[in-house]
Symmetry: C4
Subunit: 203 residues, 4 copies
């Protein structure tokens, strides 16, 4: 399996998933009773969930690139773990839609938030599992041999990225707005220069 | 026809098809009578069919890569047979949707299961046809000349992959759950290290 | 503008368009009055239009590859004419849907067929325009300098490909089934070894 | 981060977004009261908005290619600003749909036009921000060192591209048709040989 085609397939799936998010933004049906302005502002949860998911998927793509960059070539197990990771990414437009549809509803809003943050948690878990497999089980496939201490440090960083999503999922029981705020805050954090140095030191 | 663009087009179609599967997961309409939890758990066939199709398409992508990897360059016939294979892959989101929608229905559930497994059977058939054409009719286009015995062994493996899907299609007449279980089991089997060695020896 | 990214963008658009065709295949809503079998067989025009469009887009992709293969690098005019060609390809899922929805309707079926074949005609026209521009206005950008006679021969072949679609569009006034038969027949013709040699001599 | 994968991901998102535009073209439901001809001609705003958005996204792709072509490799900040740019591109199918749905409505048509041109303005702003960042903050990452005067000239051109979209957005308060005409006119202008030389001198 050449690394090039492995990367290009992963890029393809992630690019389609991130772009399909737009299908969650609905055009309000023309109506004599409700203005377009009302219809557009009313679906603000859809915009918030859209932007949050878009940036988050974009960041996972960057992280995916860094992870695969360390690899000389994928083997069967890596491809399968990567397939599971892609599945958790491809499912995000659905989880985003659940969140956007239910955030302002009187019922189901907490479960929807748990589904949303839970989907990010699952994706992070799949990412950490693949990264762990590459760094420890398949260390001989790395382009540059990293000392065990360095590999442990990278994995610890990846795993520590799970914590905020676990908290966001748990806090859905309190309020879906808190969950959304945490997820959005994480996306914003990673998009700042601050995260730039964090990411750099992570790699 | 350069092999690079041939691969990149195939990767593109497969990546879009695998990601479009998510459109089969529907967000339950907010309702005062039914909870979101009920709505989400109620569509469990959609999740099962989604995961099964996702992993299966992912595996066909890997197999496609191995098959094309043996090829120095595609010719017109190979491109046409590949186009037919891509057609059978691109149609899978539809077949998956049929299965997910009808599995728990009182009518049509057996036909739906036959459509689902039948679509996988068709895809496997298109794959075997292309592989046979490459290995025997176009042996001069292989990057490494394989002895006839080795080529027969590869083809036999590919064809033997058809059998479980033929059985799954036939057993739809008994129960759609058996059909889904076989398809899901095949996807799970290929995703394990066991299949890793099976695949390796296949190549 | 590097040729690589030009090709990869074109491949991307064509791959997405060809895969989006599947969204035209609808799962019949479960109903106590009509069986799934009835629902599935009833939409046979959707399958016929799907397969015809899929193979036709696949063939235009192959032809696109051959055309661009002659080019050392694209310039602004080539990129713009290519963009128009991609627009005519990207619109085909819509034209296919019009045909599939109206073929068996008592009204609008002839217009629908004209829209369908007309869309293929438009696409072929955009293709011929771009090919003509490359072969004559931008002959200095060709990787291999072709004699004027050879270039005229290639262009003539491309233009002659318009004729059947023009006829299919005109015959929509007689019967939409004739139109579909011609379009399907053309796709089948190009997919046979016969067309292989025709294409080869065309290039 | 290799430039290749950065480009291929951007190409993927843009290719999917430009192709998803077709989902805004709806097949009129067969009806005994309204002809298909009426249904098809009635949605002319959808065609106008479709073509305008398609060409505009195509042009932004070309400009993106030129911009990235100057870069030796992306860093974290560039990738994040690029992600924001991709977000503004990926959202265009939604903005196009808003415009197409409301242009001929008695209410909301001006807001819809403002959303449409505003989305193009936002995209241009994200593009200018990224270009400015590359040209000035990350001048050391350019493949060819450009004199400050040349870089200012390029940036000025990019920023001057914002003006017509700002005007189109403002004039939505007068008439949505003026807004559409300006956006369509810009797309047509950039597609002509005239723009070819403009673009060339811009780079």
């Amino acid at each position: 399996m050449s690394k090039g085609r492995f990367e290009s397939f992963s890029d393809g799936v992630i690019a389609v998933a991130i772009t399909l998010l737009v299908l969650n933004l609905r055009v309000p049906a023309p109506s004599a009773h409700r203005s377009l302005l009302h219809g557009l502002t009313h679906q603000w949860p859809a915009y918030a969930a859209y932007a949050t998911s878009f940036i988050t998927i974009g960041i996972i793509w960057i992280n995916h690139h860094v992870m695969v960059g360390r690899l000389s070539r994928p083997d069967h197990a890596i491809m399968m773990l990567n397939l599971v990771l892609l599945l958790t990414i491809a499912v995000l437009p659905f989880a985003t839609n659940v969140m956007a549809t239910y955030l302002t509803q009187p019922h189901g809003e907490k479960l929807a938030a748990a589904v949303y943050a839970g989907a990010f948690l699952l994706m992070s878990l799949a990412f950490a599992t693949l990264n762990r497999h590459i760094l420890f089980a398949k260390a001989h496939l790395l382009t540059v041999q990293l000392p065990a201490q360095e590999r442990r440090r990278i994995l610890l960083r990846t795993i520590s990225g799970l914590v905020p999503y676990a908290i966001a999922t748990a806090l859905a029981a309190v309020s879906p707005y808190i969950t959304l705020a945490i997820c959005a805050g994480l996306a914003a954090f990673y998009a700042t220069p601050l995260a730039s140095s964090a990411t750099r030191s992570q790699e």
